[in-house]
């Protein structure tokens, strides 16, 4: 009974593997026994894929193989990411802003914006992306987000109202814009945390470039 229900799922998992090729490569560099045939047919590409996988996993040979690395990886993933990144980023901002009027909000939109960085990392190499983004930006975003939220909340108290009493600011539609600003702040926090976690977990395999601490 258990086998009956779970077998299709298992098969789905097997079929999914080629599509999720990149994480798979970096996922088990040790256990590659089933792919012996691929090895014998095309040894060269396999090699390069391996090195890329290692590199995107934060391998040691980053310096030696950086230039060709990301570009050998997968033109399909890179082209796809290149095209959809602006749209995903816009969608994330839309979900953040429009959370006031439809489903969504800062938490969801922040995750979607963070996904942009994850996609860039998967397509172009995590280490390269990390160096491009810099170590301080994610943490900085988080701090700015918390500060903005706190300022909006405590600011109305300083102006003589209650916590988060938007009307105290005396702007036209203060409540609406205040809520959207709060959503944006939450989005900054979430996006920063998602990005930072992604880099730091991927960086666990590297033994260098600990420049944040």
């Amino acid at each position: 009974m258990t086998d009956d229900t779970t077998d299709p799922t298992t098969n789905d998992g097997e079929q999914d593997r080629p599509t999720s090729g990149e994480p798979q490569e970096s996922a088990d560099p040790v256990a590659e026994k089933p792919r012996e045939s691929v090895d014998s047919v095309a040894e060269e590409p396999r090699e390069s894929v391996d090195s890329v996988a290692e590199e995107s996993a934060g391998g040691d040979e980053l310096v030696a193989e950086e230039p060709p690395g990301p570009y050998v990886e997968s033109p399909i993933i890179m082209a796809t990411v290149r095209i959809i990144t602006p749209f995903v980023f816009t969608l994330g901002l839309f979900v953040m802003f429009h959370g006031a009027d439809s489903s969504g909000g800062g938490f969801q939109g922040g995750v979607i914006v963070g996904t942009v960085v994850l996609m860039l990392g998967i397509a172009f190499g995590i280490e390269v992306t990390r160096e491009w983004i810099g170590p301080r930006l994610p943490v900085g975003l988080v701090a700015v987000g918390v500060l903005v939220f706190l300022t909006i909340g405590v600011g109305s108290v300083l102006l003589g109202g209650d916590f988060l009493e938007y009307e105290e600011y005396g702007i036209h539609h203060a409540s609406k814009y205040g809520i959207e600003l709060v959503e944006l702040a939450i989005g900054l926090i979430v996006a920063g945390i998602v990005t930072g976690l992604f880099f730091v977990i991927a960086g666990g395999m590297a033994d260098s470039e600990g420049d944040l601490a």
Partner: protein, 178 residues
């Protein structure tokens, strides 16, 4: 009452959950877990909770899958040909007993969408639904509660995310680049 699509989704989610628990290969387990999250997200939408569904799809099926995959990149595949983990009978017994105990509370819940449930008749709910659109000038009552009426709670949540995130970053950074 339950449409075939909902029933199918429930079966799918249950099957994915069991597969995630039983599969021996961690990669397959993660894929099953991701499929489970996606199914739950669609169920949330069917239950008229699109905000929660969006969160589940973005976090559960999206980010968590990537983070899990990155994490298992440091592990090796278990040896042997078995597809499924052996079931620990005692652990299974404890789990089934816990689910059975929790299930007894199910009968106390109102029917899905019942008009006389506490959720719909509560005074606080009524207040929010009647005044949220005028007072906060936003059209999503969930956001109105989150960012205006319960803004202090949300600030707490944001600070919790901040504290947990920064703590994790510091610890993992230390481990990773020791």
């Amino acid at each position: 009452m339950t449409t075939p699509i909902e029933a199918g989704l429930l079966v799918f989610v249950l099957a994915c959950g069991v597969a995630a628990a039983l599969l021996r290969d961690v990669l397959a387990s993660i894929i099953a877990f991701s499929a489970y999250s996606l199914g739950i997200a669609i169920i949330w939408v069917f239950l008229r909770a699109p905000d929660v569904g969006l969160t589940e799809a973005a976090v559960g099926a999206g980010i968590m899958t990537v983070l899990f995959l990155l994490t298992i990149a440091k592990t090796v595949r278990p040896a042997g040909e078995r597809t499924f983990e052996r079931v620990d009978v005692r652990a299974l017994g404890v789990a089934v007993a816990l689910v059975a105990v929790l299930s007894t509370t199910l009968f106390a819940l109102p029917a899905v969408g019942a008009a006389d449930s506490a959720v719909a008749t509560d005074a606080v709910t009524e207040h929010y639904l009647e005044n949220a659109y005028d007072e906060t000038e936003v059209k999503n009552a969930v956001t109105a509660v989150l960012a205006a009426y319960r803004g202090f709670d949300t600030l707490g949540e944001a600070v919790v995310v901040y504290a947990a995130g920064v703590g994790l970053l510091v610890v993992l950074k230390k481990e990773a680049f020791e």
